[in-house]
Symmetry: C2
């Protein structure tokens, strides 16, 4: 069953990330949200959601925990008060350096070199996009 291989591989991946993220005090989804902000700061909840394919029902509490931990700030956009804009704090930016080695450790842990990982990543992304389209 392909579906179970996908399901169990995703769980194993999160378990493998855990020892890398625990010292930073992050869960894997929290790490993804921060990674989106490291790539581009000052995004809205909706923009992060579009990237991660998560809605505000999941993101709002997650982002509140990131705010509570001091990595980000959340404030209504003054131009459009419906939106909440997210900004990294100084601590949040510093965290990126500590987290820099996480993806490298993961590759090692997955037993893949960069090319193999990139190929599998592309195959999975294509599969995901096909599944989303139907």
């Amino acid at each position: 069953m392909l579906c179970f291989a996908l399901y169990s591989a995703a769980h194993a991946m999160q378990a493998a990330y855990k020892p890398l993220l625990d010292p930073l005090g992050l869960t894997y989804p929290q790490y993804l949200a921060l990674a989106a902000l490291w790539a581009r700061d000052a995004q809205t909840v909706g923009q992060i959601g579009a990237t991660l394919h998560l809605d505000s029902n999941t993101l709002t509490p997650l982002l509140k925990r990131l705010e509570q931990a001091g990595w980000i700030t959340r404030q209504r956009d003054s131009a459009d008060e419906r939106q909440v804009r997210l900004h990294l704090t100084a601590a949040g930016r510093q965290l990126q350096e500590k987290a820099a080695e996480v993806p490298l450790c993961f590759l090692d842990l997955a037993g893949l070199d960069r090319e193999q990982a990139a190929a599998l990543r592309d195959e999975l992304a294509a599969l995901r996009d096909r599944m989303r389209r139907r």
Copy 2:
């Protein structure tokens, strides 16, 4: 990021399964647990857990819901009262027939033929096992 491709593909897979499983009144993890029993009836909680890599903290409530829905029964093993043995009901066995087309629909939905799906499944299973080993 390979990790995100895996994460998002697994979510897309569960979303793709949803319209197939909703008519049966099953969630995807419930479907997995039933599939394990369809393959071999009268397993213990621990055996199902070994197959799905889930512990009793996840399985006990899930299995109680399957019992509540009338698909399975749960009873302590008389030979070893620590174990709880799971049996399909008549309805639970009949459900297998209705669910028979689910994996086929999924392949179609994923846009893969059997060989491609098998190849990707094996690659993911190998990756999963490497990640578990470290």
